[in-house]
Symmetry: C2
Subunit: 300 residues, 2 copies
């Protein structure tokens, strides 16, 4: 890691440390940071260097070590989404969230299941679709899962975390206004309703400028920024209610108190899983992925 990158990561560590200090004062049990929180969201540039240098080991990188200290100090579970370098498997990169127990132990990691191919989100040039399935982490404060960024557009992704028992599904994101702001208040809130769980929508804030100009495949001239990350983080509950959103222009800490009993209470009332007919859908989905699939279209 170059000294320049080290300086940038260290500054972000310091910044987040201050925020977590406030969270601790508020009695927070579980904190989740934004997607790829230790780096600029530089994938729009399509440059590999220096950005891939931000990738770290999920198990013992400097950011995970930093979070372990923080977790232990504050008796807090930390969800730390980073760019992961997996040296065991050929130095592959992944978009990964590391789950750190309130004891300071690394509980494990979970990877982004769906990778965008839209606009400046050229992420598929940097890492592949996750291979960790739909793990749920039994923390001291509830069963949590992490649906990273673009995965929020896929209702099945939310569903499988819920089928595995998640009470809270975090959605650490980095997304810009022009692309997704009209969808942002709907998708995670629907997921909370559909899955009888809490969802936490977390977005980056601000506009990031890059030294080298790049084009966006939209016929416009080359430029130096990606668009505005609109923040607006919020929390949704199983009953469809939601918290106010954080600012769309400045950093913030959203503290939400969740009564996890509401998950089972809502489920016992509605029970979408009991009426979900998943055998039928497993069968229909299997057929729909076959080469010889013929859509069921009725003609006159």
């Amino acid at each position: 890691m170059s000294s320049f990158l080290f300086l940038q990561i260290s500054s972000l560590h310091k910044h987040i440390s201050d925020i977590v200090e406030v969270a601790a004062m508020c009695g927070v049990n579980i904190v989740c940071f934004q997607e790829a929180w230790t780096m600029p969201f530089a994938f729009c540039t399509r440059e590999k260097l220096p950005w891939t240098e931000f990738a770290e080991s999920a198990e013992d990188g400097i950011t995970t070590k930093f979070c372990q200290e923080l977790a232990k100090k504050h008796n807090m579970v930390i969800v730390s989404p980073i760019l992961e370098r997996d040296s065991v498997h050929g130095d592959t990169l992944w978009n990964t969230a590391v789950i750190i127990s309130n004891t300071g132990a690394v509980m494990g990691k979970t990877r982004k299941n769906h990778i965008p191919r839209v606009g400046d989100f050229n992420e598929s040039s940097y890492y592949m679709e996750g291979n960790t399935g739909h793990r749920v982490f039994q923390t001291a404060f509830g069963r949590i899962a992490v649906n990273i960024c673009y995965g929020r557009h896929h209702p099945l992704n939310w569903l499988m975390y819920s089928v595995n028992g998640a009470e809270i599904i975090f959605n650490p994101s980095a997304t810009i206004g022009e692309l997704s702001e009209s969808l942002w208040p709907i998708e995670a809130r629907n997921a909370a309703i559909a899955n009888h769980c809490f969802t936490c929508s977390i977005n980056r804030v601000g506009t990031e400028h890059f030294k080298n100009e790049f084009t966006s495949g939209d016929g416009k001239k080359a430029h130096h920024d990606f668009g505005h990350f609109y923040g607006s983080s919020y929390v949704s509950a199983p009953d469809g209610s939601r918290s106010p959103g954080l600012s769309r222009v400045s950093d913030g800490l959203l503290v939400a108190e969740m009564d996890l009993n509401l998950c089972r209470q809502t489920s016992d009332k509605w029970n979408f899983k009991m009426t979900g007919r998943y055998e039928m859908y497993a069968d229909e989905l299997t057929k729909a992925t076959q080469m010889d699939f013929k859509p069921n279209i009725v003609q006159e």
Copy 2:
């Protein structure tokens, strides 16, 4: 059919005929009525009679015949959700939508896939989960599908209609304020986003009173009404935008102009189906329905 019931159905035919007349003046191509539109939503009573007498043949019942005339007269596709009596299969009842072509021909029928077991929605006493899968109807004005009422809570239901090619998914409903009003603006709108299609949320309006008192399994005294059907019908587009809602207290006709090109344009931009990883989900769902399924829970 008793003369009393005949009178009630005929009055509703007259009423809807007047509304469709206005729709025709507006140039409407496809109209969809509310769920079980020819009858009171009487399932809360748990009485079989006289309510089951409202059930008709989907193919040649008086309501289908009425709709055929109307469709032909106005060159309009009609989606007519009724209580169906299937005499070919042992006089079973179904919650069914009949699709009538603008030529007046019956294109086919599609049944409610998910049946609620919540509050006063005792519908599972009257009919079973539909067995018509996720048919899409290629009409002269677009490919349409019908997700009846409670099916809107199940993202997979919307998905499969979309996988089969639906450009517009109608959601004829009869649902009351206390139960679902907080979810109503979210679910169908999310379905439009997630599936790159239009969705039409249609709800009954008003409060229906029943002669015989009934209890609701909520510890309260017996009563004569079901609660208020809150109307608020609206249309959602693939880009996440939506129309205003109709009144929550009076009947209405919502006319929406949809550019169906927006479905493919949105899909070509985002393409959630390409990044959907349905093979993985078919496999995970299959496993999740097995008796020996063990949720993927990571312990410290």
